[in-house]
């Protein structure tokens, strides 16, 4: 199967060998052929996409546009797109048509991308397997019986299967990097605050960060360039200049220091995955980097810390879904209280309810200090661990996930096992750092991801390491065999 990168498509658009309409039609066709099996898309917006493509072709024909003009792309269905269904993969928003565009959507549209549709995800981004979606699970193209990871599973699979060259995602505890690893694509999450959260439906406000799923780090750099920057509509958005990420991709790794946290190589790590990571580290050494052992002593507390902080925030963030002003409403309730209860009972799935309950509990009078405050303290300790490491290394590298893709349904009834799948990614969100996952080989035919973590606002470093690694390897070019649905 042929998959082409943004960089390749952009060149083809410029030399006139393809048109945006042609590329968009290809994407729409591939989605039509494969989506029944993969279930990567919730909404396909054919007419709007073709109109955008024609507009992009007109710009290109007049010699204008930039590297993203005319490139088809899919948005995770957590980003509000004006006039379109934005469901967050929840029954609660199954009828919600957004009256406005998210900043990410606006920025990418301004850069000329063509939005072909909205991708499937875990409900409200809560899940690590894409099985909590109201619209059903997404299948991993490497093995249809397995999960592609989550919550940005639809985006990861859309890219892995070549339905679109790239897709947006969000990462609250690993929701870009983990599905990227399990689906065999490149996933990149910038520093918290680098990309505006405006219009991105909130799960856990202090952790949520928009990013991308692509075939290469080079493509990720192009997209983040367009997405990043200050936005007055998001008070937590960084007011700092955006460097030229593409220009940073040429830097040599000679003399660069790679820190490998010993805590990431614990008993929970699949031995074959561990081998792939060591292989990848060896590649980095051949590129001139030195690899050294580092320690993140508090990172072991990441998962419980995360589930307190994220659940607390989500329990409050999701209160607005009450059936009063928009979204699903239980009809015919006989009182206000029963309308609330039935709307939320029927509108939310099990995992979302579990987290709302957990979050409500940890914020309750008498428990706040023991859980929420304690978790905030541990969060600081974890962030300090990372900060200390970056005093002696340029980048931290390790596995993205403990195992390759697991079977659909395998962990659905065991939330703790499910949560542990994010054990290596969660600390990065708690510390607000940029991170990537790049394909680094296979374990029993399933993709394995190498995680690269940079210091705050070290997007260029992470993207360059990923790029240099991809220049030296071809794991990211391996694509799954697809049977038409």
């Amino acid at each position: 199967m042929e998959r082409r990168t943004i960089t390749q498509l952009s060149a083809a658009l410029r030399d006139g060998s393809v048109t945006s309409r042609g590329l968009t039609e290809d994407c729409l066709q591939r989605i039509e052929r494969h989506n029944a099996v993969l279930n990567a898309f919730i909404t396909v917006s054919r007419d709007e996409a073709l109109a955008m493509a024609d507009a992009a072709d007109a710009v290109l024909a007049s010699g204008g546009g930039g590297p993203l003009t005319g490139i088809p792309l899919a948005h995770k269905d957590i980003f509000c797109v004006r006039g379109g269904l934005t469901t967050c993969a929840s029954r609660m928003l199954s009828n919600f048509v957004s009256p406005y565009d998210a900043t990410v959507v606006e920025n990418l549209a301004a850069a000329g991308v063509v939005t072909v549709g909205k991708t499937n995800m875990d409900e409200f981004a809560m899940g690590s397997s894409n099985e909590t979606s109201y619209y059903g699970p997404v299948a991993n193209p490497w093995d249809l019986e397995r999960s592609p990871g989550g919550s940005s599973g639809g985006s990861a699979v859309a890219v892995a299967a070549g339905l679109v060259p790239a897709a947006t995602g969000t990462d609250t505890g690993g929701s870009i990097r983990q599905p990227a690893a399990l689906s065999g694509v490149t996933g990149f999450k910038p520093t918290y605050g680098r990309v505006s959260r405006y219009g991105m439906i909130a799960f856990a406000s202090s952790l949520d960060q928009a990013g991308v799923l692509t075939l290469t780090a080079e493509d990720a750099a192009l997209l983040i360039q367009a997405m990043a920057g200050f936005d007055a509509r998001d008070s937590t958005c960084a007011d700092a200049p955006v460097p030229d990420y593409t220009a940073a991709l040429g830097e040599s790794l000679v003399g660069k220091k790679v820190g490998v946290p010993r805590e990431f190589f614990d008993d929970g790590l699949d031995p074959e995955c561990a081998e792939r990571i060591h292989d990848a580290l060896a590649v980095l050494e051949t590129l001139g980097a030195t690899v050294q052992d580092v320690s993140l002593p508090n990172v072991g507390a990441s998962v419980p810390t995360y589930y307190i902080v994220a659940s607390a925030e989500c329990s409050s963030n999701l209160s607005r879904f009450d059936g009063i002003r928009f979204g699903y409403r239980h009809a015919g309730a006989d009182s206000l209280e029963s309308q609330y209860k039935l709307t939320r009972k029927e509108g939310f799935g099990a995992e979302v309810k579990r987290r709302i309950m957990t979050g409500t509990y940890v914020l309750s009078a008498g428990y706040y200090d023991a859980y929420y405050l304690q978790a905030q303290k541990v969060r600081h300790l974890i962030a300090d661990d990372f900060r200390r490491c970056f005093e002696s290394v340029d980048i931290i590298a390790g596995p993205t996930t403990p195992t390759p893709a697991f079977g659909l349904g395998e962990k659905l009834d065991d939330p703790v096992q499910m949560y542990l799948n994010d054990i290596y990614t969660i600390g990065v969100n708690l510390a607000g750092l940029p991170g990537a996952s790049v394909p680094c080989g296979f374990s029993e035919g399933l993709p394995v991801g190498l995680q690269l973590i940079g210091p705050a606002f070290g997007e260029s470093t992470v993207l360059n390491f990923a790029h240099q690694y991809q220049q030296a390897t071809d794991w990211h070019e391996r694509s799954p065999e697809l049977q038409a649905g």
Partner: protein, 477 residues
């Protein structure tokens, strides 16, 4: 058995910003329902709050005015509860780190005593919308125009010992926020309202009694009545051997009673936590000093100055400084009518305030300008007209008939001070009332007033009263 009353107030004052605390929507009162609510006010998925910096300035201005600690770092927190007029399911407020810490204000009691009331804290928060229950058959309407309107919640120490003190404190805060220009203080529109925490204890006890919270008292009169009725109720309960239950009670002004709204057990657990969508507010000295520079002369200072500069009585000063506009008006009049501040004060407090009240308008909308009033007072001082005629002239000025001189001329009201002319009139009146003249001469001096009245009537009030008195005495004694 004597009881001591303990009262603390939580005052909510709407801050007079053009746009809302976290969105750009207008805060103007009285628009069609839901026409001043943007996606942020509606709590739409994906939207985020952005702090209106003007709100911070106003809160700090208040803090400086009550000599409070201004927090160099304060934090917004979410107060979580479900209600249809609360779109996000939480109210953005402040809990642990409010912007204004401990401060104090002075109140003045009837006997001329002064008392200091502590302010525990003041914090910024957003208002909720309104539920409309009586317009739709069997359904409730929601108007979110008010949702997101900035409020400053001012929490007092339990320092007040009577309903009267509570009202005096509330009036003092009301005066202050209006002096500072941070609130219009309009109670009818809900811009200034309060909850009262009330308890009683036996005199001499140090521990506080169990308190109840009276909700949403939106007039000074209701605050006083509600607190008094609640005090009575609590004392009745305790003297009957019962216990006061900690609860929220609603004041019913129609029945003049308070009734239970919810008990402590039914109270919401608001699950406050720092709002992750908003950064902590960090204030530096430069900012605080720049706000301090905006502080106007405050009521206490103005009061002292009025006593010192104008030699007015405390009671008059209290009236004149009750709001900034009245004080400014008075100073404008007094500045023109040099050396007779007392006359200016009497007229501002008397005729002018009366006319304003009658027309239900504020002093800013007065139909008689300070300059025009001063012109009238000048005519009293130079004895062109008497004080009584001046009232007639003022009334005509109020009706827009022109300035004092025009009216005096056109109506021929100039006082008759010409001794010759008066002398003739006095003689005529004495001749017409021989009976009263006899009575006077027989020692019944009270009839002098009657004779003066007759003379004033004969001159349509234009006679100089002092002169009339002298003339009469000369002729009769």
């Amino acid at each position: 058995m004597a009881w001591e009353v303990v009262i603390g107030l939580e005052i909510h004052t709407q801050l007079a910003t053009k746009s809302k605390i976290f969105s750009g929507a207008s805060t103007a009162y009285g628009a069609e329902p839901n026409t001043q609510a943007c996606l942020i006010d509606l709590g739409y998925p994906g939207v985020l709050p952005v702090l209106n910096r003007k709100v911070v300035r106003m809160a700090v201005l208040f803090g400086l005015a009550i000599n409070a600690e201004i927090a160099r770092r304060s934090v917004f927190a979410r107060k979580n509860y479900f209600y249809p007029d609360l779109p996000k399911g939480y109210q953005i407020s402040q809990l642990e780190l409010p912007i204004v810490g401990k401060g104090a204000v002075k109140i003045f009691l009837d006997e001329g005593q002064e008392k200091t009331i502590g302010v525990t804290r003041a914090h910024m928060e957003e208002d909720a919308g309104k539920s409309v229950h009586d317009h739709f058959d069997g359904e409730s309407g929601i108007d979110l125009n008010r949702a997101g309107t900035p409020l400053l919640e001012i929490v007092s120490e339990p320092d007040m010992r009577s309903a009267k003190e509570a009202v005096a404190y509330m009036k003092r805060i009301h005066q202050l926020v209006r002096y500072l220009g941070i609130s219009d203080g309009n109670m009818q529109e809900g811009s200034f309202r309060c909850d009262a925490n009330v308890s009683v204890r036996r005199e001499g006890e140090t521990a506080l009694g169990t308190r109840t919270e009276l909700k949403n008292l939106n007039s000074f009169r209701f605050v006083e009545k509600a607190i008094n009725i609640e005090i009575e109720r609590q004392i009745d309960v305790l003297e009957g051997g019962g216990k006061v239950i900690q609860e929220t009670r609603l004041y019913d002004s129609d029945r003049n009673e308070t009734r239970s709204m919810r008990s402590k057990e039914e109270a919401n657990d608001y699950r406050y936590f720092p709002d992750p969508d908003l950064l902590p507010i960090e204030l530096d000295e430069d900012f605080i000093e720049s706000v301090r520079a905006e502080l106007p002369e405050l009521p206490d200072a103005k009061r002292a100055r009025f006593v010192a500069d104008y030699g007015l009585k405390a009671g008059d000063v209290e009236m004149l400084t009750s709001n900034r506009e009245m004080a400014d008006y008075f100073e404008a009049v007094a500045g023109t009518v040099k050396g007779d501040a007392k006359l200016a004060a009497n007229w501002v407090i008397g005729e002018l305030s009366g006319a304003l009240n009658k027309d239900s308008i504020g002093i800013g909308d007065s139909r008689v300008s300070p300059r025009a009033l001063a012109g009238l007072l000048e005519r009293i001082r130079d004895q062109s007209i008497s004080g009584k005629i001046a009232k007639e002239v003022f009334e005509a000025m109020w009706q827009g008939e022109g300035d004092a001189d025009q009216i005096i001329e056109s109506r021929g009201l100039r006082q008759i001070s010409d001794a010759g002319a008066l002398d003739k009139i006095v003689d005529e009146v004495l001749a017409a009332h021989p009976e009263q003249v006899e009575q006077y001469k027989a020692g019944k001096h009270k009839v002098l007033g009657f004779l003066v009245g007759q003379i004033m009537q004969a001159t349509q009030g234009k006679a100089n009263p002092a002169q009339v008195n002298t003339l009469l005495r000369n002729k009769l004694d």
